[in-house]
Symmetry: C2
Subunit: 165 residues, 2 copies
């Protein structure tokens, strides 16, 4: 079964909230996202990594127009969930490689990360699913990252002429 | 458009590697995953959160049978990417709610997190996509978490009888 990356996308109308060091105990994620739902903030991707038994980092992206509401909601809940630090960024772009069977192919992630590395593009966050691999990069490097992904997966060529399938 | 969660799954044959405090500069993600690819380790979900301009946390899940190879590969690369600390867990289970149009519905994430919170189930990591919301939980709570998700989204009832669509 070949790796078939069928497309690449870029989303620039995004902002990211990163909550560093949230208390890693039941109920805290629910509190944060209930607060955001009450503020009618529609959340895109949610990413949480565990830092230790005691702490976790939660970050999520929102539409730019929801950014101020998201900030207000997070500022009012951060103490209740023991969050050490929050930082906000709206200078980001999400570049994704889209395809089928992506998850089991470490090849795709590998190709994408090394292609961005060659172009000296920093990867701010990563999230993967069955159908896509998404990297948040600095907005100033968004277009360069998109072109880099298109070239890496030879998206300008017809499927039967690509060398990596 | 209603929220349609069409199913819930659990995956127990997983292990997780968490790299805390990797230097946040271009090329480091590529080094880690190239190393894993060389060791023929097939990576499932990859999650990276940005901790600051200087540091990022990268975690990923692998099949249990790849766990030892993953550990070896990570131990040999962690210094080269400035990683502060690595921890490994094989006592985890991934519980997912599957459906269409998940991403734009903060309602689904909200319902899932608060349902797990009510059952006092800790969420270790989170990753979302267009078609699923996945939480890693302690393996001992995996079955309880799966039942909790099925109940929350009324998966035992026919679609036209569910109260949350
Ligand atoms: C950090 C947060 O996700 C917490 N572990 C919870 O279960 O809600
Ligand atoms: C942490 C790692 O992802 C780094 N930012 C990179 O671009 O590779």
């Amino acid at each position: 079964e070949g790796i078939l990356v069928s497309g690449a996308t870029i989303e620039k109308n995004l902002a990211k909230v990163s909550m560093v060091g949230v208390d890693n105990k039941p109920g805290n994620a629910a509190k944060i996202f209930a607060h955001l739902a009450e503020a009618k903030v529609s959340v895109n991707d949610i990413i949480q990594t565990e830092v230790s038994k005691q702490k976790a980092n939660i970050s999520f992206t929102v539409n730019k127009n929801d950014f101020n509401d998201a900030k207000k909601a997070v500022e009012s809940i951060k103490e209740k969930v023991g969050c050490d630090n929050v930082f906000y960024r709206d200078d980001i772009a999400e570049v994704s490689a889209i395809g089928v069977g992506m998850r089991t192919h470490y090849g795709v992630a590998n190709m994408m990360f090394s292609a961005l590395a060659k172009e000296k593009i920093n990867i701010d966050s990563i999230t993967t699913s069955e159908i896509r691999i998404s990297c948040l990069v600095d907005k100033a490097q968004g277009d360069k990252a998109l072109i880099c992904v298109c070239k890496t997966f030879e998206l300008d060529k017809p499927v039967n002429k690509r060398s990596y399938v």
